[in-house]
């Protein structure tokens, strides 16, 4: 049985490995978590993710910039890849699936990848369409996978407008799907105007918002089913 002290030490190492973008330490600590029989779920959320939360704060405070963020993400994935196969049940209260991609005409995918990482750690099933994705592809993939959520990203004003078309098409085909948009030129105002359910200011915000959306969606579904069975 792993001692509380050892547990604390490993969580601290995972957390710091992410903050200090140290992939090797993240891997070593993750392996040790498994060796000593510590709970992988605990290691992900109280180690890796809590490191990423600190990174988010450093980013907001402009101590970290995008290069640091990318390197921290690499360290997180280094640990996550080892721990994930050993996770029995991720417990965030809600699980869901998401279609994510950068809209056609836009080849910038860094923001999208950071958001994707948050869904990955939260145990969502992620269908990543990549970048420069033809607009129809989002609708097609959502229908095919019956995903709860579609996330659209655009880095440039020039491509952002394509998102409106995807939103309209998705709504026409599946009124219940939740849609979230994000990217440098996007604002709350635009999200509301175009009828998106959520607007991702950043990755943290994207995940919180996504969980809320899916919870409300699941609740609606349950209510509908309860009515049917009555």
């Amino acid at each position: 049985m792993v001692t509380e002290d050892k547990k604390k030490e490993l969580l601290e190492r995972l957390k710091n490995a992410v903050i200090q973008y140290d992939e090797d330490t993240a891997k070593e600590a993750a392996k040790e978590v498994l060796d000593v029989g510590m709970n992988a779920n605990d290691a992900i959320f109280n180690g890796l993710v809590s490191g990423m939360e600190e990174v988010g704060r450093l980013f907001e405070a402009q101590e970290y910039f995008v290069p640091e963020l990318l390197m921290c993400a690499d360290a997180l994935y280094a640990g996550l890849d080892i721990l994930k196969p050993h996770v029995q049940q991720l417990d965030l209260g809600v699980k869901g699936s998401v279609v994510i991609g950068t809209v056609e005409g836009d080849v910038h995918d860094i923001g999208k990848n950071i958001v994707k990482m948050m869904f990955d750690v939260a145990g969502f099933t992620v269908y990543d369409l990549g970048r420069d994705v033809p607009l129809d592809k989002f609708v097609e993939e959502q229908l095919k996978t019956d995903s709860d959520l579609v996330c659209l990203s655009a880095m440039m004003t020039t491509t952002m407008v394509g998102m409106k078309k995807v939103i309209d098409d998705l709504r026409a085909k599946n009124p219940n799907v939740k849609i979230m948009i994000g990217g440098a030129p996007v604002s709350q105002d635009i999200a509301e105007k175009w009828g998106a359910d959520g607007y991702a200011k950043d990755a943290n915000n994207a995940l919180k918002d996504a969980i809320n959306m899916i919870s409300s969606l699941k609740k609606l579904k349950e209510e509908a089913e309860a009515r049917k069975s009555r």
């Binding site: 402009q62 910039f65 995008v66 290069p67 640091e68 990318l70 390197m71 690499d74 056609e104 005409g105 836009d106 080849v107 910038h108 995918d109 860094i110 990848n113 420069d132 440039m156 004003t157 020039t158 491509t159 952002m160 407008v161 394509g162 440098a184 030129p185 604002s187 105002d189 635009i190």
Partner: protein
């Protein structure tokens, strides 16, 4: 009494440090409009590949709305293409999508020591852009200034290799990135020199990849600025350095680059930048090209002109390319409002 004989005269005097009657309203970035394309019957995808269409499309923005410049090209792939990248112009689509890079030339860290191809200035669409500059000069060059742009070395590096890798390497291996930027600065100097020969009045260097939304001011100063300086030293026509996003922390470095003017977007607090740089500095900006010019009501369009001028811009200048679907009444309102300032 200040005598201004044309919009071109005003802009050139501004660059030369002479007194002018009012700030000009112009741009150093893409300025094509859907209205102009409709008038000409051109498809968006076609205007990047034909000098005549490129020049004509650009000229309509002056002819229809009185915008005080003509600028070619419209996309950001010209230099990368000349260096050997493949581009996608989305010819199969009716929508307005700007060309992007389909195939990059650097795939791994080991491939970063590139040699600039000989005769770079004759490769890809550079001769086409030169021809468009000549045509545009002939058409409207007597009335308005004709400009063009090149990418800054860091932004160009992000076109020819994965941005993800470039960003991480600029942290892990700055020497290696520095060598690449040095080579790309040479490439940019060659291209800019060719545009000068074609007769362009001013050149904007777009280094938006190095914005403080992405890179720390420290990295900007240490890694990017030296190569921007190298470029501006070699540009002989008036030059502008454009960086979008959060730029308040780096405007002093931008001003140090050797550019004749700096260009910022709506995320810059221009009143503060003006305070920092003093009244002599030429600051172009920071008109919001989408949320105001496209999506705003004409009242907001006018108010924003006022705000830019009151905050202290030297020229009212959109923070990015004109978004083509700009409503004609908004464009006209912007130009009307700036003309009120004429003395």
């Amino acid at each position: 009494m200040i005598k201004i004989i044309s919009a071109r005269d005003r802009v050139m005097k501004l660059f030369g440090g002479e007194e002018i009657d009012r700030p000009p309203c112009f741009s150093g970035m893409g300025n094509v409009t859907a209205e102009g394309l409709k008038e000409l019957g051109y498809k968006f995808a076609s205007i990047h590949l034909d000098a005549r269409k490129m020049a004509d499309s650009s000229a309509t923005t002056y002819k229809l709305f009185g915008f005080e410049c003509g600028v070619v090209p419209f996309d950001l792939c010209v230099e990368a293409e000349a260096l050997g990248c493949e581009i996608n112009v989305y010819a199969h689509l009716e929508d307005i999508l700007y060309p992007t890079i389909k195939k990059k030339i650097i795939h791994t860290e080991d491939e970063m020591d590139i040699a600039i191809p000989s005769g770079l200035q004759h490769r890809g669409r550079i001769p086409l852009v030169c021809e468009a500059i000549r045509l545009l000069k002939k058409d409207i060059g007597g009335e308005v200034p004709v400009g063009t742009y090149v990418l800054g070395p860091f932004t160009l590096a992000g076109q020819i290799m994965e941005l993800n890798d470039l960003l991480k390497l600029s942290f892990k291996k700055p020497d290696k990135v520095g060598r690449l930027l040095d080579a790309l600065a040479d490439a940019v100097i060659l291209v800019a020199g060719e545009y000068e020969k074609a007769g362009v009045d001013y050149i904007t260097v777009r280094e938006m990849g190095a914005t403080s939304d992405v890179l720390s001011p420290r990295v900007f100063k240490g890694l990017i600025l030296p190569y921007l300086k190298k470029i501006f030293e070699k540009i002989s026509v008036p030059s502008v350095l454009h960086i979008c996003g959060k730029t308040n922390d780096i405007v002093p470095f931008m001003a140090e680059s050797g550019a004749r003017a700096i260009s910022v977007d709506q995320k810059n607090d221009v009143a503060e930048s003006r305070k920092k740089l003093g009244k002599e500095a030429r600051i172009f900006g920071n008109y919001d090209p989408y949320n105001v010019l496209v999506a705003g009501r004409p009242e907001l369009v006018r108010e924003t002109v006022r705000k830019c001028v009151n905050d202290g811009v030297s020229a009212v200048w959109p923070g990015c390319d004109i978004w083509p679907t700009v409503p004609p009444e908004n464009f006209k309102a912007m130009m009307e409002e700036i003309r009120k300032d004429g003395r």
